[in-house]
Each structure stands twice: as structure tokens, then as C-alpha cells.
Symmetry: C2
Subunit: 396 residues, 2 copies
């Protein structure tokens, strides 16, 4: 009854979501405080007070025809101007409203740019492990996702392997730093090397290779970690961003796409992105939330909360003998499975300890599991004895 | 630089939007009160007070983690339950939350169901004239849009022509009543006949032909006009709905898809629609607005405002000698161009009278123009002398 493509999608439907649903059922059966659900990246830090204040003020004082009405498909001028100004201040860029398209979160932004760029059969490279939805997003436009490996210590790109995977059919490289699922943050030298490789391949093939930087976690970094701004390193770089994590608004679907003037065919790309947003059915990013984020450019969700979770979880798991990627950003811990088939470990954690993890193969990387630690601190603390018993079980 | 498909889209980019942009420029040049912009379906009636009250109450009193958080991709249970209850009360149906998927407006709903159903090359029939975005939506999934004629008095379907256009490759028929751009509302006998034709063709071909009813204007009807509920007439009917017009929230992108249990493969269709919403990048309909509409099921934008506009505009244009489709619903008047090429009429109206109309060919129907009368009543009244001068010019 349903399309062939969708049959495939339904069958492979996100293991993450399935786990989330199962977690809800288990919470009903065993009690929410006895199930440790690390399956989904749903922030446990409330939106900052500025968001509530802006919402109430706008709804109470501004014209409802404006706040709930259509605007240019790219978004309200005042929102795009506010974001451009904020980026310029932070990164010494020279963006204007014209460089921005407001989108339905970073997921919407990625679909808009892929719709804009991809012809059927075009290749899109990304580094393993990666957010599993990239597969769907690239398939939406009949592109081909090409996996490129990383080192297994920091999960930074393997540059030699990247070079081999760039072909005349490569249309884009998607990077995601801070990374879901590893928590890796690419330092400047990684971006410099990526830019150098892409530039050389563009010249070799006479093509354009766009660097798509998926950055919903840019503001969630720890210690002295810095996330370099990609458009400073490469001429064909676009940024997909979101307020889902930085303002804890994942359900609101509000984000944006940055399209610098330096892009090859910048004018065409901007015009097409504007149309793409409409014809994909989004039309525009939700209007009231556009006006809210315009006023909340300096607000941030409480990163210290996630940092505390990270410190306690990472510390305890390392002490127990688990091998973990060093988590510099985002709110995920990437842990090596103590047995080769990580599904076995996920099953044991669930059944024996009521700990819900996500299998690494959902991110294109079997043998590892992801822990989303954007949960209450209590959940972290209460789960630790279970992790310790699992370490004993597997003799770590 | 951009994909081949998008080059086509950008080139043909909606004449409606182009006109809207031009209207803004003209308003700056000549003064907003001297430009009569009838180009875009942007409601001029504010959202009802219930919406503002619900927004402020929810933001002030409910848990921000809930109101801005992720939920099941289909939407909050309470929202879907409220809508199901409302529909059941109005139409004596038996829907539950499981029959509903919350979407990013009706545009999102159409993309979700088309993504769910279409294989490349599948045909989707619709009646001329039709909302031009159907072309894009069907092309998004490599479907083929097939135009089927209507009569030129009421703009009801030509049934004999419909029969000819239904083939073994027909996957769906999209109807839109109340209609954009004609204002036609299909009476019960039209739905009965459509259902009978589709049922016969399903049996003849051994296929499923889904009836997709695009209903953003269901609540905008005049006089004693009734909009029959399609799922009561045909087993394979789905409804795409929106709060854009009924609650004047077009910029918020909040709507829903109704998937009855009677659908062929109902379970598969529902599972796929859920996944489609996610992989298209929408993920879910905006969360706060979902909670708002759950509380506003009985609220309605002020239809009397549009009815006054309709009465005055329709009355004056008929008196001036224009030929108009009888407008029973939505907020569009469909007017026969006094010259064969309606683009000539659109140009004269714009240049001589600062009246902005949309060419009929944007709706697959040259020779007619659309007037969106969801504007201030003053705009209607002040535009009438211009329409009268145009009638004189063309000797109507």
C-alpha cells in the first residue's frame, strides 16, 4: 500500500525512536525512577527564562496578524538581521539577512540545502559514526551517502580515506561538530585540512564540493573547547543550525541555514533554498518562534548542567573500565561495546539493568553504543551501579 | 550550481509570491493605501482571543520541557485526542488519536501523505484550476500530476473526463473544497459521484486510489453552505487540514493529516506517515502550537469579516459586468479575464489601477484571474472604482 522507498524506511525505522517508545513502556511497568533511558537527545534543561519572557511579551503586545502571519519564505527580516549580527559579532563575519534562511530546525535546513544541490546519483560524503537521519535526508533527493572513516581515539576524520572517497560525483561533505554520537569537536587544524582537501579536489575535478556543517550542538561545549566557524576556512561552506539544544526548543522546529556570499553560484543557491523551503511543504519556519529567537540571541540553555552529567558519567565509566571517546561537546557519550556485537550489550543493559542505550550501527558504526546524557542528574547517579555491574559482567 | 529540478522550480517560481513581493515595492512607491494587493492568501483577520489566552497560559503555567520538547513524531496525544473528539462530534466519525498525524500545516500534510504513497511515475489527478504548489509537491516524489477539467460555471468536476484520466498508474486524486482559487464548495452529490467513480476504477484495475482532501478552508464558508466530510463517502479518503485560515495562523505551520482505519493498509500507511514526517525534516509539528490548538478546537477566526468582503466585491464586480465563479467558501474570487490572455488583464490592472491579481495559468487555467479578498474591508471598497474603470476599458 505504501511506496517502495517508504517500506524500506519503515522497516529500518530509527532504532533510537523505537528505544524511546520502549523506554516509556518500561517506565510504566517498572517505575520511571527505575529505568535509565539514555536513548533520545531530548534536552532535560528547560528553555532559558528569556524565551518565556519574549513569548509572553510578543503575544501580549504585538500585532497577531504579524506574529502568526506569512512572511518572506526565508523568514522575518528582523530575525535574520539579528542572527547575522550575532554571528558577525562572534565570528567576525559580514553576513546580512540575505545570507540566512530560517528553517524548521537543522533537519529542515539540511533538507533545504540537499534539495537545492542534489541531482539523482550525486554523492554526499560523511564521517562515521554519523547521525542516522543523514541516510534518509540524502535518499530524499536520490543522492548516495558515502561513509568515510575516522580514527577510533578522537573520532577525527581520516584524511587519506576522505581523499579516496571524493569523486567527480561528490556534491557535498556533511560534517557535524560537536558530533552526535561521539561528542568530538573538530579543532581548527581539522577544518584547515578538510578545506585544503576539498579545494584540491574541486580543482582536480572542476566541480563544486559544498561543505555542509550541521551544527545543532555548537553552543554545547565543555571546558575550554572552541568550535571554529567553518565559513572562515572554506569558500563553499554552508551552516545548518538550530535552537533545539542551545535554547532547549527541540519540539518547536526552529533553526536556520547560513549561505555565505562566497559560495559558488551564491545567488542561485539562495534563490533555490528559498523556493526549496516552500516546495518541501515547510513554507517557512514557525513565525512566532522566529520572533522569539530574534530576541534571544544572547540567551543559552544551562550548559553547566550537561557538563556535570558528562563529568560524572564519563568519570564513572572510565573508572569502571569502559573505553569512551573524550566528550568535548554535545551531550552524548560514545562507548566501546565490551562485546563485538554491540546489540548483545544493548540487550543486556536493557534487560538486566533497565539501562537504555542505542546501538552503534544506527550511526553506521557497529561495536559501539551511544549514551544520551541530556537526562536528570539523578538518572546519571542512579544508573552508575548498573554500569558497574555490567563492567563486572564483561570483566573490564 | 543548483540541481536541475530546482533550476526548473526557481524559473517557474510562484507568480503569486513574485506578485506579493512586487506589491510590497509598489506600496513603498505609491503608498500602501493606494495599492490594492489581492495576490496572497494571508489572512487579514487576527487569530481569535482564545489563541492568545492559550499561548500565555501554557507558557506561564506548563513545564517548558514539555511544551518545547520532542514528542511522538505524530504529535502530542492530547492534541490528537482533542482533534479526534472534535471531528467525531461534528461528523459522527469514530477517530482516535491514532488516526491523526500533526503536520507543518496542510502543505506538510500533503507532503507526508504523498511521500508515503508515491512511487516514481505514479499519477496524481487533480481538478483544474488547482493550487499551483500541487505540481511541486507531486514532483517532490517523482509523481506525475494529471489535470482533469471542471465545468466553467460552478467549477465542479467533469465526471466523464475524470473517468478517462484514471489509469492503473493513478495513485491518488487530490480535491480541494472549499477551493483555492475558485471558492467552489463541492456538495454531497459531487462527493458521492467521485467515490463511486473511484470505487469502480479500483475494482476494474485491482488498485488502491486514495482520495486526498486538502481542506485548509473547511471553516471558511458562507451563508448556508455545508462542507461534507469526505471520509463518510469513500473508504480510501484522507484529509489534510490546517489552522492557517480557521485560526489565522498561517505562519505557524500547524495542521494535521487524518488517516481513517478504513484505508487500505491503514496500519502501514499510519506507520509510514509517522516516519515520513520525520525523514522529510519536519520531525514533528511545532510543539507549543500543538498544545495551543488542542485548547482552541471550538474557536474560529471571524468568518463574517470575509463574508462582508465577499459580498461587496462579488456584488460590485458582477454589477460592473465581470463574470465570476459563485464564491461559496475560502476567500478567493475567480474572475474571467475580459481578454483572452489574462496576463494582459493582470498587467493593465497593475499598471493602470495598482490592483494586484494573480494570473489563472498559475492554477493551470489561463483566461481567468484570482482575487484574494482576505484583505481589509477598506482595500475592497477603495479598489472598486478601479475595477469599474477596468470594466469600462474592456467594454463589459
Amino acid at each position: 500500500m505504501i511506496s517502495e522507498k517508504m517500506q524500506e524506511f519503515v522497516k529500518n525505522s530509527s532504532a533510537i525512536r523505537a528505544m524511546f517508545e520502549e523506554g516509556k513502556k518500561m517506565a510504566e511497568e517498572f517505575g520511571a525512577d527505575r529505568v535509565y533511558d539514555f536513548s533520545l537527545g531530548n534536552p532535560n534543561v528547560p528553555a532559558p527564562q528569556e524565551v518565556e519572557d519574549a513569548l509572553v511579551d510578543i503575544v501580549t503586545h504585538e500585532d497577531p496578524l504579524k506574529i502568526h502571519g506569512y512572511m518572506n519564505n526565508s523568514g522575518f527580516d528582523e530575525t535574520r538581521t539579528a542572527i547575522a549580527g550575532h554571528l558577525n559579532e562572534l565570528y567576525h563575519t559580514r553576513f546580512t539577512a540575505d545570507n540566512l534562511v530560517m528553517t524548521s530546525g537543522a533537519g529542515g535546513a539540511l533538507n533545504v540545502i540537499l534539495k537545492t544541490l542534489l541531482n539523482p546519483g550525486d554523492q554526499v560524503v560523511t564521517f562515521v559514526p554519523y547521525f542516522g537521519e543523514y541516510r534518509s535526508y540524502v535518499a530524499n533527493f536520490d543522492g548516495v551517502l558515502v561513509e568515510s572513516p575516522t580514527d577510533s581515539e578522537h573520532f577525527y576524520p581520516d584524511f587519506a580515506a576522505l581523499k579516496e572517497r571524493l569523486t567527480p560525483k561528490t556534491r557535498a561533505l556533511i560534517i557535524n561538530s560537536p558530533n552526535n554520537p561521539t561528542g568530538a569537536v573538530y579543532p581548527e587544524e581539522v577544518l584547515v585540512e578538510i578545506a585544503s582537501i576539498l579545494t584540491a579536489k574541486e580543482q582536480e575535478y572542476g566541480t563544486d564540493i559544498y561543505l555542509i556543517s550541521d551544527e545543532p550542538y555548537r553552543d554545547i561545549v565543555y571546558g575550554s573547547t572552541v568550535v571554529p566557524w567553518v565559513t572562515g576556512y572554506y569558500h563553499n561552506a554552508v551552516v545548518a543550525s538550530s535552537y533545539s539544544k542551545s535554547l532547549s526548543l527541540p519540539g518547536e522546529r526552529i533553526g536556520y541555514l547560513v549561505l555565505p556570499d562566497e559560495l559558488s553560484g551564491a545567488k542561485d543557491v539562495m534563490a533555490a533554498a528559498n523556493v526549496a523551503s516552500r516546495i518541501l511543504g515547510f513554507i517557512n519556519a514557525p513565525s512566532l518562534m522566529q520572533l522569539v529567537v530574534a530576541r534571544c540571541q544572547d540567551a543559552k540553555a544551562d550548559v553547566a548542567f550537561y557538563e556535570q552529567n558528562r563529568d560524572d558519567l564519563y568519570g564513572a565509566l572510565m573508572a569502571a573500565g569502559f573505553e569512551c571517546a573524550p566528550p568535548d561537546g554535545a551531550f552524548y557519550l560514545w562507548v566501546k561495546s565490551p562485546v563485538e556485537d554491540e546489540r548483545e550489550f544493548v540487550k543486556a543493559a536493557k534487560e538486566e539493568e533497565h539501562i537504555l542505550l542505542v546501538q552503534g550501527r544506527s550511526f553506521g558504526c557497529p561495536g559501539w553504543v551511544r549514551i544520551a546524557y541530556c537526562v536528570s542528574h539523578e538518572t546519571i547517579l542512579n544508573s552508575l551501579p548498573g554500569f558497574e555491574r555490567l563492567a563486572e559482567k564483561y570483566q573490564l
